[in-house]
């Protein structure tokens, strides 16, 4: 049952992240998850200074606020300062992270306060962190409900705004010309990303979330040229990576998050080499076959 809970939670989060990640990699904003994982630090410190506790509820609130603020700043610098998205992401999160460090060293140097120990959860403990009602009924792991809810919100969001998201991703000029607000959909997408990442950080930790936003969509991107197929392949990869990672961790008795990301990396490597159309080796084989066919044809012509 524990294995099932962990794999299911990982899968739900991988699906959420993958769904958004497909849009992010096409918009060249894949590292926004990493940015948020760092930029939430001042939010945590401020939440602590305001509340005086290191309770998860406050920490998540502070982190969520900063997550949204981060994506807002990135978008703002990208549009107003005409910075490339990667530069906007880099400037924003390093600045916010630095702000958090300064806040800690000035106000809270004697308190054990950082994302690692107050916000980031551990996927191995998902089955232990149960949701128990007042009457003592055990309803299963809390993280599972959070991950399920987040996925539901994300699916609804993408379902409702599918056309707009796709058009603003692939052809912003055309989207604008038919009256779709590019910045509105950008902010909505970024809002979804920041909600997803912060909620998932709290359940399963940062490295896993950052990786799941990028690795499955990037792998799927090598496998297909059509967007719907990209989504489907990402979803399939999400399931495979979660289950594969869990069993790798079980076999090694290692970190589950680490193993899941390792599997994601290995699958990416396989796709890079063997993808049906874009794979390095498949392309080479195809070229060799073509050359052979050409040589045979030439030989046949000479005869």
């Amino acid at each position: 049952m524990d294995a099932f809970y962990i794999i299911l939670t990982a899968t739900l989060i991988a699906l959420s992240c993958g769904l958004l990640g497909c849009f992010l990699i096409l918009r060249r904003m894949a590292m926004v998850g990493d940015a948020i994982s760092h930029a939430v630090l001042p939010g945590i410190v401020i939440a602590f200074l305001v509340s005086g506790t290191r309770d998860s509820f406050w920490m998540m609130g502070g982190a969520a606020l900063l997550g949204i603020f981060t994506t807002f700043l990135i978008e703002f610098f990208h549009k107003r300062a005409r910075l490339q998205t990667d530069a906007a992401i880099g400037v924003t999160f390093t600045w916010l992270f630095a702000l958090g460090i300064i806040l800690i060293s000035v106000f809270a140097g004697q308190v054990d306060l950082d994302q690692e120990c107050v916000l980031y959860g551990e996927i191995a403990y998902v089955p232990l962190d149960l949701w128990i009602t007042e009457s003592g009924k055990v309803l299963g792991p809390r993280a599972l409900y959070i991950a399920g809810l987040v996925l539901l919100i994300n699916i609804s969001f993408v379902y409702v705004g599918y056309k707009e998201l796709l058009l603003t991703t692939f052809d912003p000029t055309f989207a604008a010309s038919i009256g779709i607000s590019i910045s509105l959909w950008n902010y909505l997408l970024m809002g979804a990303v920041s909600m997803t990442t912060v909620a998932s950080f709290e359940s399963v930790g940062a490295i896993l979330v950052v990786a799941l936003l990028v690795a499955p969509p990037a792998t799927a991107y090598l496998l297909t040229d059509r967007f719907p197929a990209l989504l489907a392949a990402t979803a399939a990869l999400a399931v495979a990576i979660s289950a594969g990672g869990y069993y790798l961790a079980a076999w090694l008795d290692g970190s589950i998050a680490g193993a899941i990301v390792t599997v994601a990396g290995v699958l990416f490597g396989l796709a890079f080499l063997f993808a049906p159309r874009h794979g390095l080796l498949t392309r080479r084989w195809r070229q060799r076959r073509q050359r052979q066919a050409l040589a045979e044809a030439a030989a046949g012509y000479r005869e």
Binding site: V111, E116, A124, F227, A232
Partner: protein
């Protein structure tokens, strides 16, 4: 013409204009796929949530299983439980509890445990919160629970934020022993007298150790009794044994120390003529080495007095593999370097 149009509009979902349809059609194809997978998974979840519950093994014919977070706590449990318990520490030697990463097997170990002991006071960070919740379904005890709030070192500004490194005051640690004893007795009342006998013996050992540490530290001349370490783990030690303590980093081993902190500390070391600073086994030595270098540039020679066991014990079987050995090793290192 009308018929042809009718046929065409049938292909377009939701009556979109023909212009959008060429894109819209392609888009909608994949969506049901993802949706179907997601819906399937959610259904699976709902179905499987109903069948909770694993096999319960018989407690009677095996030893009591105790899982502790740190080696220090495991050592306590081992001394009190003796042969009638099986003790396991999740964090091995040299592991920084602030940064501990759980493995897949940890979950099984916690599940299989009859008793889970942890330090509390936020030493285990986020994991402490999980353990707190686990309390609802299992015997989970923070060993710091029995220690009065007035004896904990708290943060001057934030109420309820305490320094978790209680094991450096041997007397305080003896109170954690009472907590562990009570927990073990409750779990296995049949062995009550055995546990109490063990606890009494160990309590005497700790009292002796306390006296010994006191005497040893007194050998250092009062003006040289300054302990400078990589992070703020030794406040309880300083308070109990009358030695001034300065940490380079805050309690958290992640927080960076400020430039001014560094300059202040270097001035402090040079000004007081301190002979040695200390590194810790579970914290990076880089920063403390920078301080040594900074002092050298100011013309004051300070050396690294040795490596202290702070948040984790030494290798099992080695001299610092037990709590008492760890304290002795630390005290010897400090006295040798500062005297």
């Amino acid at each position: 013409m009308g018929g042809a149009f009718g046929e065409f509009s049938g292909l377009i979902p939701n009556g979109r204009s023909a212009g959008e349809a060429s894109q819209g059609n392609g888009l909608d194809n994949g969506q049901p796929n993802t949706m179907r997978i997601a819906a399937f998974l959610l259904l699976l979840l709902v179905f499987l949530l109903g069948c909770e519950g694993g096999p319960a093994d018989d407690k009677a014919d095996r030893k009591l299983r105790v899982v502790a977070t740190t080696g220090m706590i495991a050592d306590l449990a081992r001394h009190i439980g003796g042969d009638s318990v099986e003790v396991l520490a999740l964090m091995g030697p040299g592991v920084d509890p602030h940064l501990y990463k759980a493995t897949q097997g940890d979950l099984g170990r916690l599940r299989a445990a009859d008793i889970v002991l942890y330090n509390g006071l936020h030493l285990e960070g986020k994991m402490g919160e999980v353990l707190e919740k686990l309390e609802q379904i299992k015997t989970v005890v923070p060993v710091s629970r029995g220690i009065g709030v007035d004896r904990l070192i708290d943060h001057p500004e934030y109420e309820g934020t305490y320094d978790p490194h209680i094991w450096f005051d041997v007397q305080l640690w003896a109170e954690a022993l009472d907590e562990v004893l009570a927990t073990l007795i409750e779990a296995d009342p049949a062995n009550r007298s055995y546990f109490e006998r063990n606890a009494e013996a160990y309590r005497r050992e700790l009292a002796e150790l306390h006296k010994w540490v006191r005497q040893e530290i007194k050998k250092i001349p009062p003006e040289r009794r300054i302990l400078i370490t990589a992070h703020d783990a030794f406040s309880y030690f300083g308070r109990a044994y009358d030695i001034e303590v300065r940490g380079l980093q805050g309690i958290s081993t992640v927080s960076e120390f400020g430039l001014k902190d560094r300059v202040d500390l270097i001035d402090f070391i040079a000004g007081r003529g301190i002979k040695a600073v200390f590194v810790e086994t579970s914290v990076s030595q880089k920063n403390i080495r920078a301080i040594v270098e900074g002092c050298r540039q100011k013309g004051h020679e300070v050396r690294i007095g040795g490596s202290l066991y702070s948040d984790a014990m030494g290798e099992a079987g080695g001299p610092a593999g037990e709590y008492t050995g760890m304290v002795r090793s630390n005290v010897n290192t400090i006295v040798n370097a500062l005297n």
